[in-house]
Amino acid sequence: MDGTADFFRWLAEAHRIDVSIAYDPLDRKRFLIGLWTTIWLSGVCIGSSILVGLIGAWLHGARSAAARGAVQVFVQFFRNTPPLVQLAFFYFAVSAALPPVTDRFGASVPLIDNVGWAIVSFSLFAGAFNVEIFRSGIEAVPRATVEAAESLGYTRLAAYRHVVLPLAFRVCLPALGNNLVNLVKTTTLAYAIGVPELLYAASQVWSEVFNVREMMVVLLLTYVALVAVLVHGLRRWERAMRIPGYSA
């Protein structure tokens, strides 16, 4: 560890290539906190956006026209407006319109803070795409399969859970994977509302140490690596879920 730190210190002094996060403890700590924030923020948003997608796809199959219409408005609105404006809309506008709560200092503070709104905003944004993805997957399941399940005594919910979803999910996986990769990339927008994620951490470092070039390279490589890990995981998952004898 010390050898690496020494090497980077030498690099900074002799070649003006200042990767300060490699030898400065404060900068390294900030960067690692940023990395961790990006990872857990992505994880939470992936989970909740899948949930939003499942609920949306379920409502879309409902008999009530109002429910179907509401899902459509939600999906089209979130797919066709900029995620950055959505984020600002939630964090600045919706937050100000909600009733405040009292914190432990006795002051009134917003119900949801910036990290909370980032989760809400990104989950709804990616969730809107997931609704469409799941829906197309569900539609790809033949009617006959559902009827077969119902003739075996499954209720609609049970058939949905045990028959339709498992099949539809396999069809959706490639498109879902694409969307989740995008979700991870979208978490950088949280920078705009001061969530201490990776981009925020990097910009803090470069505005104090003035090593934009180096931090930019580190940042790009880190994100490409994060996405590569996710893609790899999704691919393994896809393989594990494959039905033997049936493939694309």
Binding site: I17, D103, D113, Q204, S207, R213
Partner: protein, 273 residues
Amino acid sequence: MKFGIRLVLGALIAVVGTFGAAAQDTIAKIKQRGTIVVGVKNDYKPWGFLDPSGKIVGMEIELAEDVAKKLGVKLEMIPVIAANRMEFLNQGRIDLVIATMGDTAERRKVVGMVEPNYYAGATNVLAPKSANLKKWEDLKGRKVCAVQGAYYNRRVGQLYQPDLVVFPAVPDALNALQGGNCIAFLFDDTLIGSTLAGGDPKWANYEMPLASEDPQLWAIGVRLTDLDAPFGKLMKEMSVDWHKSGRLLALEKKWGIKTSPYLEEANKKHRGS
């Protein structure tokens, strides 16, 4: 192993590219271009801000206009933020920074700070009266809005441990403060003072509750290579002149800023000499 790392890093840096500004006489270059490009604030009322027509106006903008007039060229203004102004200057995208820039030792390694300093400020917070802040220690653990790249973020962050929420630009932070997303906005006391003194009803319920700390001079920034070259010298002369003639005091009054002791003192000093 080390050689391998060095090779990879070297290649990466080569890809990214190193771009330094050429050491050519800046005044000649500006005159040849017919335009001086100045990095200014467009979110820092009344130093540099937008009027409803989208034009940038303010006290610092008038200083930039003075410089352009002196050189006999047109003025082009590029809005900068704390996080990018020094980069822009050193890349050569702008010739000059007049953007509420604090004069710190760290920064002097990167940009040339023109003396005498044209203004001075200190650190304070803008907070709603209902927040009931009394001392800096009250900030501990509370959400405090701030702006990326401001020199006081680090110091206040370490000293008083607020939960800093740092935004890319001032309007975001002000929006967040007004929307109740933070308890206070960490900023320059000059700006807070002038904002509150403006008598604007929207700030009627806000106050600057703490004792200002960490006084800081503001400087006009030039590239380090320009500091002792004709361009830097010209800026120094103009800066002396602004103090001596009372131009800065007059501008302060015109833009409704509370007269700062620093300017009064500097005016006396330069007139005397």
